[in-house]
């Protein structure tokens, strides 16, 4: 076949132009901002260059709180949601009657608006002057004492945030894993059956390796998604996340850009770059593990 570089470039131009303007340029710009001290949008001026922005951000207690919150969220929700999704998918693929009903039910959170769900969660968990909320009523019913999950202790708030996040990311994972399980050929299970393989061993040695590419995909995207968490926290705790102590890294970046005093793009950029480096490292580690374990 004759290659025609001019033609090829012509076809590539629309994508390159759009990606260049709306992705590459802003990324590079953010990188540059992060080294420019005291950058001001209005005057387009800055007072100096250096690593001060990073130093400021890394010493800002709000950022450290946001970093801690985000890490806790990631460490708890990614394994839990993937594991639970796997259990639910296994259950879904082993039942016949009502399978489609259950599939629909599990997929519902995916098509529901995040803020609306947040509102419902608030009603479930919030303690007000008039009511303790449904969850607290249940806790009391079992003999516990009620806790304010929305304005109360840190662990309670973190619990609600994790619970909510798991609930909201579950349907997509269930969807992916159910189809992954369905794509494992029946012949493998028949072969295992004839060889007298126990149920657990069939799962561990056949099913799990067969769907491992999909599990890794979910873990990687799960990590990235959890690191970028923001709207879930807003939906539960309102926009003033710093005072609630429930800010996330993306929330911190947002606050630095548009927060009450408003307009610290340099700090925002530095925080964004730090987040980028964290996500990049975690994803790289994930991919390295994946390459070692998924080999077919």
């Amino acid at each position: 076949m004759k290659t025609n570089p001019a033609k090829a470039w012509l076809y590539l131009i629309p994508a390159i132009v759009f990606l260049g303007i709306f992705m590459v340029y802003p990324l590079v710009d953010v990188f540059i901002y992060s080294f420019e001290e005291g950058y001001n949008f209005a005057s387009q001026s800055y007072t100096g260059t250096g690593l001060f922005n990073y130093s400021y951000v890394l010493h800002d207690p709000y950022f450290l709180q946001a970093l801690k919150n985000t890490l806790i969220l990631v460490v708890i929700t990614v394994p839990l949601s993937t594991g639970l999704a796997l259990l639910i998918s296994l259950g879904l693929s082993s039942i016949k009657p009502l399978k489609h009903v259950f599939q629909t039910v599990y997929f519902l959170p995916y098509v529901t608006n995040t803020l609306a769900v947040g509102l419902v969660f608030m009603i479930l968990f919030k303690k007000t002057a008039y009511t303790d909320g449904l969850i607290n009523m249940m806790i009391q019913w079992f003999g516990g004492s009620s806790v304010d999950f929305i304005d109360g202790p840190y662990w309670a708030k973190m619990f609600v945030l994790c619970f909510y996040t798991i609930w909201i990311v579950m349907p997509f994972k269930v969807l992916i894993l159910t189809s992954a399980l369905a794509s494992v050929k029946q012949d493998y299970y028949n072969a295992a059956k004839i060889d007298g393989t126990s149920t657990w061993r069939t799962f561990a040695r056949i099913t799990l390796p067969m769907i491992s590419p999909m599990i890794f995909y979910l873990v990687i995207t799960g990590f990235i998604g959890a690191f970028k968490a923001y709207q879930d926290a807003v939906a539960l705790f309102g926009t003033d996340l710093n005072s609630a102590g429930m800010n996330t890294i993306v929330g911190y970046v947002y606050d630095m850009l548009y927060g009450d005093s408003g307009g610290y793009p340099s700090y925002a950029s530095a925080a964004a770059i730090i987040l980028f480096v964290i996500v990049l490292s975690i994803t790289t580690i994930n991919l390295m593990i994946r390459r070692k374990n998924v080999q077919y």
Partner: protein
């Protein structure tokens, strides 16, 4: 170990009244003697894979019993039947190496059957060398050819030394050359292990070439069981006659009158013992003798010289399907093409008559071959 099927029937219920029940296996009654290589042969959709799944235990029969030796295995789950099954697409675990695949069944053994690691390894290596894949033990299935994967699948099925080895369309995923080679290989492995082996195929040549016994079936019904040559020489009905043999048997519309077979107006063969009626006359390609005074006249179409023999391709107005007549004659003959006609006389034992109504075989004197079958 001998395998006996007793009134074995499998019915798949129709879907919500819209479809009729499908009788995939209809009242199978036969015995497979110990140590034989048996071909279960039939056109696609005839229920042969279902029959195999019933023997393996993956399907539960609607009715009937299955015996392995003196044990009734009908209610015994597949893992306790002592069978090895090779799947049509091999079903090798893609994430495991060849050695791990072969070890897999052994690692499942529990309790008193549990084997020490070195014994497992030894047995895996032994069976690997039986199917000649010693060199490939560290490979993954994806890195091997179809023929090699097939061998691994056989090794995995054999490693527990099963009583019965079952193969589902073992050669269908291989190319023509590999198919020839692999069928010899299956024969060799079976002869070395002497394990009763049943394989399913739709390819009659495949079944004929390596089986000790073939079972011809159609639409869930067994039509004939016998040694390949026996079934070929003495088909019990038209289906069996048409299904076996390449090139296939030539079938004519014929009439029997006064103990003589007429095709069209020509009296082609005397068939003592058959009453006057309409018949199908099946003539094997090797049943024609080139004879300028022969009674059967056909229009000559083509002559294919094969070196070893000659194929004479001709047509006749009375053939069952509008197919050409293919006759195979020795190279000693010279075909005279000038007249555009060719005349044959017939070898009586290569002519099979079938009732027009029932398609069952009609026997006349001399109609059985002179051959004596040894057990």
């Amino acid at each position: 170990m001998k395998v006996v099927l007793e009134h074995l029937t499998k019915v798949f219920p129709g879907r919500k009244g819209r479809k009729q029940d499908v009788i995939a296996v209809n009242d199978f009654n036969f015995e497979i003697p110990d140590g034989m290589l048996v071909g279960l042969l039939g056109p696609s959709g005839c229920g042969k894979s279902t029959a195999l799944n019933l023997i393996s235990g993956l399907e539960v029969p609607t009715q009937g019993k299955i015996w392995f030796g003196d044990t009734d295995v009908t209610e015994i789950p597949p893992e306790n039947r002592g069978i090895g099954l090779v799947f049509q697409n091999y079903a090798l675990y893609p994430h495991l190496t060849v050695l791990q695949n072969i070890l897999f069944p052994l690692q499942n053994l529990k309790g008193k059957d549990k084997l020490p690691k070195d014994v497992m390894l030894e047995r895996a290596k032994k069976v690997a060398s039986l199917v000649q894949i010693d060199e490939l033990l560290d490979r993954k299935p994806g890195e091997m050819s179809g023929g090699q994967q097939q061998r691994v699948a056989i090794a995995r099925a054999l490693v527990k030394t099963p009583n019965v080895l079952l193969l589902d369309e073992p050669l269908s995923n291989l190319d023509a050359r590999l198919r020839l080679q692999t069928r010899e290989e299956i024969k060799r492995i079976q002869q070395e292990t002497r394990i009763t082996t049943i394989f399913v195929t739709h390819d009659q040549e495949e079944a004929m070439s390596i089986s000790d016994l073939i079972i011809v079936m159609k639409l869930g019904v067994v039509h004939q069981i016998g040694k390949p040559q026996e079934v070929y020489d003495d088909p019990h009905n038209l289906f069996v006659a048409e299904f076996l043999g390449t090139p296939p048997i030539n079938v004519f519309y014929g009439t029997v009158k006064d103990e003589a077979l007429y095709i069209g107006d020509e009296k082609v063969l005397s068939v003592p013992g058959i009453s006057d009626q309409d018949v199908y006359a099946g003539i094997r390609p090797e049943g024609f003798i080139l004879d300028e005074n022969g009674p059967l006249t056909c229009r000559l179409k083509n002559v294919e010289v094969m070196g070893r023999d000659i194929s004479v391709i001709s047509t006749h107005g009375k053939t069952k399907t509008d197919k050409d007549i293919r006759s195979i004659i020795s190279t000693d003959n010279i075909v005279d093409r000038s007249s555009g006609k060719v005349r044959f006389s017939l070898k009586p034992h290569k002519v099979h008559l079938f009732s027009f109504e029932t398609e069952e075989r009609l026997y006349f004197q001399n109609s059985r071959s002179e051959r004596h079958y040894e057990d």
